[in-house]
Each structure stands twice: as structure tokens, then as C-alpha cells.
């Protein structure tokens, strides 16, 4: 029937930014349920292989916003 969803109405999922507690490598992945900023997670660092990472940010990147506008 009636649809209200336009391009600008689409929801963008933010990315979770993680920093390795061992080598400080920064990494990002799609947001997962239960994530919050400053949470320590048992995830493998893609560079050094350490399994302790800290969530340092959860936000929508500028490129994601641009992609929505295009």
C-alpha cells in the first residue's frame, strides 16, 4: 500500500572501531549486538593475532553517508 521509505530514510548501520590492546592496530567491522564503546572484546587482531581488543568508537563513517546520498 502506502510506502514512506525514500533514499534518505534508509537506516545506515554504524561500524564498530577496535584497537588491539597489544599492538594498537586499528580495525573496523559492522556493529554487533552488545557492542559499546570501551568494551574489551575477545577478538583476534588481524596484525599480531592477539585476542584482546578494545572498542574505541561506534559511528557512521563519512563514506557510508556519501554512499547513501548517491
Amino acid at each position: 500500500m502506502f510506502s514512506y521509505k525514500s533514499r534518505s530514510d534508509r537506516i545506515i548501520e554504524p561500524l564498530t572501531h577496535l584497537t588491539c590492546s597489544n599492538c594498537n592496530t586499528e580495525n573496523s567491522r559492522p556493529f554487533k549486538e552488545g557492542d559499546y564503546v570501551f568494551k574489551e572484546v575477545d577478538e583476534k587482531c588481524p596484525k599480531c593475532g592477539s585476542v584482546k581488543m578494545l572498542i574505541t568508537g561506534i559511528y557512521i563513517e563519512m563514506r557510508q553517508e556519501k554512499e547513501r546520498q548517491e
Binding site: 534518505s8 537506516i11 549486538e33 552488545g34 557492542d35 570501551f38 559511528y59
Partner: protein, 380 residues
């Protein structure tokens, strides 16, 4: 009849069809002259159609947010609870502002009413979502508040639409029609905010809390609860005693920073030499999101109670009030945080550090309050 048709002819002989069209045109023209309200009625019907279209869209947003809220609450509710019915009760609940004929003491009366409202709202959410933990309850309470906000917008627009239609009041319809672009923008922002609260994602309004959390991260400190849903970190910064105040996270709450700051100043006495508040501020159109600006005063929105408390105690003790504001739009404030806003936290920290070292002598105490919603921001 033929004489009239002959008279209507311009530039020579015409067939019967052209004469008929000319006659219709003439009658239309005459109706506008003889019945001046006709043009207004046509305009009103056009405006009502436009408003009806937007009202349908608002209804769709309201239903969408409500459905999503019910589904989320159901995951934490025992099966015997009728979530839909309980939510309807919360959506229709209201708050009555205190009487202002005698304004003496009105701020504390307002605070009492708002605190009662917040506590009751949270208790009702706990009654529905018995399986949710404390952190989740805070975020679910925010989600219900968002659903209530959207529902109120829909009811408000529907009221003016129906009233204007029933009374054929073009001026009433005109006013609501002029406000519709902003109203639709806010309703859409609420819809996106519901997603953020369902998943516990940080929102733009949380930048004050995020800045303070970053400032405290990795430093040796003492942490304790100073007021309901409000924590304080005590730490040392270049010989100064720094007391950071923020809403406790990662659940969605704004805490009671006014009460927190007041308690600290009362306990510390004259040792507090500066109070800095950090909050998100509404930008003007054309301004850059995430821009960090400094000023004087208390940067806190909401009912004004927290602002009043800090101003009162600061005036009594003669403590200077500094404010740092991060610009963002109303949509950005209640939807998942944008990169430009998140990155502003580092600039805020630099400004706070610079202000403290420049304005406060070693051995003194400084209070830094990060204002905003703590959803998705943990305690460091």
C-alpha cells in the same frame, strides 16, 4: 441564445463547440467574481490533500516505531504480559507542568515532577521487561520515550488536520502546513533514533559523555556514583584535582549532572576553581557538524533544572563557568553518531586540557561535566 453566442465570438464566426467552451470560461470567470470564497475553498482543499498525504506518512512512521518497540519489549517480557496493551498505556501517559502563577521555587517543583515521571516510566518498563538487566532497562526506557515522542507528533498533526478540515479554517491549516517540513524531519529522526536505542548504539547527543570517558580512559582514578545514574571520576591532572561527572553507561540515560556537580562543589568548598560543561549544541543551517566551540555559561539542555542547579552553586561560590559545545543538527543528535562528531572528542579533550592548564593553578580542583545520553558508551 444565439445572440449571446454571437456576442461571445471574437474575431469572426465560430463553431458551436468553441462557443460552448467560451461560455464555460465566462461562467467560471463570473463565479470567481460573484463568489469570492471559491478560490479560498479550492486552495484549502489542495492544502488539506497535501496535509493528508503527510499525515499518512506520519502514521506509517508511528506504526513502524510502535511495531519495532513492541517486538523489542516482547523479547524481554514474560509471555503472560500483554506488551501491546502496556505500551499503549505508556504512549498515552502525560506530565503536567507545575503552576507558574507564583514562580517562587518552581524549578524544584519541576524537578520533583520530572524525577517522579522518569522513575515511574522506568518502573513501568521494568514491570513489562522482567528479563532485562539494569543497563538494558535504561535503553528500553529511552526506546519507549522515542515511541511516545513519535506518537505525540502524529496525534498533534492529526488534531490540527481534523480541526482545520471540520471548521474549514484555512489559517489553521496554513500554519500546520508551513511547519510540516520540520515536523517530518523530526519524525524521521525519531524513527532512526528507535533503531539506535534498540541496538544500544551511541547517538550524537552522547558526545559530551564520550569526551569525558576518553579523558578518563587509561588514567588512575577513583570512581563512584554521585547522583542517580550519574558517576564521578576523581583523578590527578598536572597537579590539579580533576573531577569528571557523566551519566553512567552503557545504558541510555542522561543522569542528573546538576545534582552531581552541586554535591561535589558543596563537598569541596572553595577548592573548586572552574566548572566546565561539555555538550552537543544545535548548529545553524550551513554550519559544519562536529565543530567545537567555546563559550561561557552552562552547556545543558533539557528542562533547565540541571542548568539552574549548577548556576546557583557557581554563583554562590563565585566559580567561573566555561562551556564547550559540539555543533550538530537535531537529526544528528538523536541518531547513531556520525564520524565528524565522534572525532570531535579529541579536539574537546585538547581544549579542556588547555583551559585547565591556562586558567587553574596547581593544587586546585576543576569539575568537568560531560552532558548527554550515555547509550552505547561504557564506563572507563
Amino acid at each position: 441564445m444565439k445572440d449571446i453566442l454571437d456576442l461571445l465570438q471574437i474575431g469572426g464566426q465560430q463553431d458551436i463547440l468553441s462557443s460552448l467552451i467560451s461560455l464555460i470560461w465566462l461562467m467560471l470567470l463570473m463565479s470567481f467574481f460573484l463568489y469570492p470564497g471559491l478560490s479560498q475553498k479550492i486552495q484549502l482543499s489542495y492544502m488539506l490533500r497535501d496535509l493528508e498525504r503527510k499525515l499518512n506518512r506520519l502514521k506509517a512512521i508511528d506504526d513502524d516505531v510502535k511495531d519495532r518497540t513492541i517486538k523489542t519489549l516482547q523479547t524481554y517480557a514474560p509471555p503472560e504480559i500483554d506488551v501491546k496493551n502496556e505500551l499503549e498505556k505508556l504512549l498515552d501517559s502525560f506530565i503536567i507542568s507545575p503552576e507558574s502563577m507564583d514562580p517562587y521555587g518552581i524549578v524544584y517543583k519541576l524537578e520533583h515532577i520530572v524525577n517522579t515521571w522518569e522513575d515511574r516510566f522506568e518502573e513501568d518498563v521494568v514491570k513489562i521487561c522482567k528479563k532485562a538487566d539494569n543497563i538494558r532497562v535504561k535503553t528500553l526506557t529511552n526506546l519507549v520515550e522515542v515511541a511516545r515522542g513519535v506518537h505525540f507528533i502524529y496525534r498533534f498533526v492529526r488534531h490540527y488536520y481534523l480541526l482545520g478540515k471540520r471548521t474549514s479554517n484555512i489559517y489553521l491549516i496554513l500554519q500546520i502546513q508551513m511547519l510540516m517540513p520540520q515536523i517530518m524531519e523530526i519524525a524521521n529522526a525519531y524513527r532512526q533514533a528507535s533503531y539506535a536505542f534498540i541496538h544500544g548504539q551511541p547517538i550524537g547527543d552522547g558526545i559530551g559523555v564520550l569526551s569525558v570517558a576518553r579523558l578518563a580512559y587509561g588514567r588512575e582514578k577513583k570512581t563512584y556514583e554521585i547522583a542517580k545514574d550519574t558517576i564521578a571520576h576523581e583523578l590527578d591532572f598536572e597537579g590539579r584535582r580533576l573531577i569528571l561527572v557523566r551519566a553512567s553507561g552503557p545504558g541510555g540515560t542522561v543522569g542528573r549532572p546538576g545534582e552531581g556537580v552541586q554535591k561535589i562543589v558543596e563537598a569541596e568548598g572553595d577548592k573548586v576553581k572552574l566548572i566546565i560543561t561539555i555538550d552537543a549544541g544545535l548548529k545553524l543551517e550551513g554550519e559544519e557538524s562536529g565543530k567545537v566551540v567555546e563559550g561561557v555559561g552552562v552547556a545543558i539542555g533539557g528542562t533547565g533544572v540541571d542548568k539552574y542547579r549548577i548556576e546557583e552553586i557557581a554563583k554562590a561560590k563565585g566559580t567561573p563557568l566555561y562551556a564547550i559545545v559540539i555543533y550538530e543538527s537535531i537529526t544528528e543528535a538523536i541518531t547513531p553518531m556520525r564520524e565528524a562528531i565522534a572525532k570531535a572528542a579529541d579536539k574537546v579533550i585538547e581544549k579542556v586540557k588547555q583551559t585547565i592548564t591556562e586558567k587553574v593553578e596547581s593544587g586546585s580542583t576543576v569539575i568537568v561535566a560531560g552532558i548527554g545520553n550515555s547509550v552505547g558508551i561504557g564506563i572507563t
